[in-house]
């Protein structure tokens, strides 16, 4: 019965999204406000615009469906779907992280943070150095010291 109940989410830029409650409560933030009875109707989602909210809903729907499926979706298939889901531009990815954090959707936060971590973890020290010289607030003396102390990471 709970699964057929629908709720309406209102993005920060005024767009409404009707979703099943089971999908909406993937967000602990939304789940808590529903349970406390403090959620309005529609439920406002500040800080998350319609473009991002649509993506978040798409993610939650997929994950709720695959958990329920009679013939369970292969873990591998879900992992592949997730990998495709995060193939977006950097700005969108960063917005997804903030939304997942605000809405408290752990699996989405894990996925997006891991994606960013994988992007920045780095290849050669030379490439790292090139990136770090930008907006580096260490003085040359400080930078030399900090490099020396962390030489182990460059070997």
């Amino acid at each position: 019965m709970a699964t057929s109940r629908k709720v309406t989410l209102l993005s920060s830029d005024g767009e409404s999204f009707e979703v099943e409650q089971s999908v909406a409560v993937e967000s602990i933030t939304i789940k808590d406000s529903i349970e406390e009875g403090s959620a309005g109707n529609p439920i406002p989602v500040p800080k998350v615009n319609s473009k991002i909210l649509a993506k978040v809903i798409e993610y939650c729907k997929k994950h709720v469906e695959s958990a329920k499926a009679e013939d369970r979706v292969d873990d591998e298939d879900l992992v592949a779907w997730d990998a495709d889901f995060v193939k977006v531009d950097q700005a969108t990815l960063f917005d997804l992280i903030r939304a997942a954090n605000f809405l408290n959707i752990k699996s989405l936060l894990d996925l997006t943070c891991q994606t960013v971590a994988d992007m920045i973890k780095g290849k050669t020290p030379e490439e790292k150095r090139k990136t770090f010289t930008i907006r580096n607030d260490f003085t040359p003396e400080e930078e030399e010291e900090v490099r020396r102390e962390n030489q182990w990471a460059f070997e």
Binding site: D89, Q90, F94, I97, R98, N101, L109, C113, Q114, V116, A117, M119, I120, K121, G122, K123, P125, E127, K128, K130, T131, F132, I134, R135, N136, D137, F138, E142, E143, E145, V146, R147, R148, E149, N150, Q151, W152, A153, F154
Partner: protein, 402 residues
């Protein structure tokens, strides 16, 4: 330049640094490999401060333990000091063998004149005693942070039992020394607390019918140090496990050993992943081992290994000590105190690690962590520069890093 971080291609570390609130930034940083974290300390002061924080190191450690532990484990051996990335030998990629062993030169830990003996390993910190018990060394082989510790006043050249581990109740690392020749029979135990930086004495009585099977360092597991021992209260001496709880600072006998038939005596303990590991067959052509994941009397043992080791060349009475286990099920043995080998129980073959040996080698596994032997503070000039800039009220200790 095929950089993933050339400005044109998008995500650069500094872009990430600027875009996020601290809690999200930490979520991202916690997922980075440890060498990346070391490199990212050099990005800017904010990241330096975040990554140097002890809370961050602890969160990072928790994630390692909750995930794939094997990928962050290495072997640390003495005489001479070397670290071994043991998984590199398992995979058959040519040319990896030499990279598996890293000799390191650490002038503050020169062990040619004063041999260093292993005491224990916990959370990425390796504890060593300086021969002659003139002190201890606490070392993180990953970050190369090294700290010398004083010895206790209770000096005795033989019969010391040691152990090193973490006490979660007081959030402290402790070194434990027993004065007794064969164990804890005179009940005097001295404990070094890393937080306080000093030794103190306490009483820990071992009941007279119990004794330790062999003098040696306790294996740290789940907040306690463990030894194999004997219970001589019955007609036939029974193998038992004796534990020293680091929070309670008491000796207990909580764990039973596996039920076995036949002529099996348990020779040693170790750690396998997150489990306690007990084995038999060091001196024979067969090797058997069991693991348990639970504490307390309800814990049950699972037989993990039962294979022949005839394939290992040399005399069969040379002692084989299991040190580490690869993902594919091979076992790293230290053989006859000189050699370190990777043994494949499926086909009875083995490979030698290109390690060096001066004389009796000791080995232990350790995890690659950011945990500092100094706990909260870092003897670093950068520390005072960065933290004063951020307005933190700390006692500034600026040691020159020589």
């Amino acid at each position: 330049m095929k950089g993933a971080f050339a400005e044109s291609s998008g995500t650069s570390a500094s872009a990430v640094a600027e875009s996020f609130a601290e809690d999200i930034l930490i979520e991202i940083l916690l997922r980075l490999p440890i060498k990346s974290l070391g490199r990212f300390k050099c990005v800017c002061k904010r990241w330096w401060s975040l990554i140097s924080d002890r809370g961050f190191a602890k969160s990072h450690l928790e994630r390692l333990k909750a995930g794939d532990i094997i990928s962050s484990q290495r072997i640390f051996k003495t005489r001479p000091l070397e670290t071994i990335n043991y998984e590199l030998l398992d995979g058959g990629i040519g040319g990896e063998d030499d990279r598996a062993v890293v000799k390191f030169h650490e002038p503050r830990m020169d062990d040619s004149s004063w041999p260093l003996e292993l005491v224990g390993s916990c959370d990425g910190l390796v504890c060593l005693s300086v021969m002659g018990y003139s002190g201890f060394v606490l070392y993180n082989p990953t970050t190369k942070k090294c700290r010398n510790l004083p010895s206790s006043d209770h000096f005795r050249p033989d019969g010391f039992l040691f152990g090193f581990g973490y006490d979660s109740r007081s959030d402290d690392y402790k070194i434990v020394q027993s004065k007794g020749r064969n164990g804890f029979e005179d009940a005097q135990v001295v404990i070094f607390s890393l937080k306080s930086g000093s030794w103190r004495t306490t009483q820990a009585k071992l009941e007279s019918h119990l004794c330790l099977y062999e003098r040696g360092d306790g294996v740290y597991w789940k907040g306690a140090l463990h030894w194999c021992g004997l219970d001589r209260s019955k007609e036939k001496a029974e193998d038992v496990i004796i534990s020293f709880d680091l929070s309670e600072e008491k000796l207990q006998q909580l764990l039973r050993l596996p039920e076995v038939n036949g002529d099996i005596s348990f020779e040693g303990l170790g750690v396998h992943g997150a489990n306690l590991f007990v084995y038999h067959g060091s001196y024979k052509d067969c090797f058997q081992a069991w693991i348990t994941s639970e504490y307390g009397k309800g814990g049950s043992w699972t037989k993990l290994y039962n294979f022949t080791t005839e394939g290992i060349s040399g005399y069969s009475f040379w002692r084989k000590i299991p040190v580490a286990y690869t993902r594919s099920g091979k076992i790293v043995f230290q053989v006859d105190v000189y050699r370190t080998i990777m043994f494949n129980p499926e086909d009875n073959t083995y490979k030698d690690y290109p390690t060096q040996c001066r004389h009796d080698v000791e080995s232990t596994i350790y995890m690659e962590t950011l945990i500092s032997p100094y706990l909260d503070y870092e003897p670093s000039r950068i520390y005072s520069l960065c933290t004063s800039g951020l307005g933190l009220n700390v006692l500034v200790l600026s040691f020159l890093f020589s």
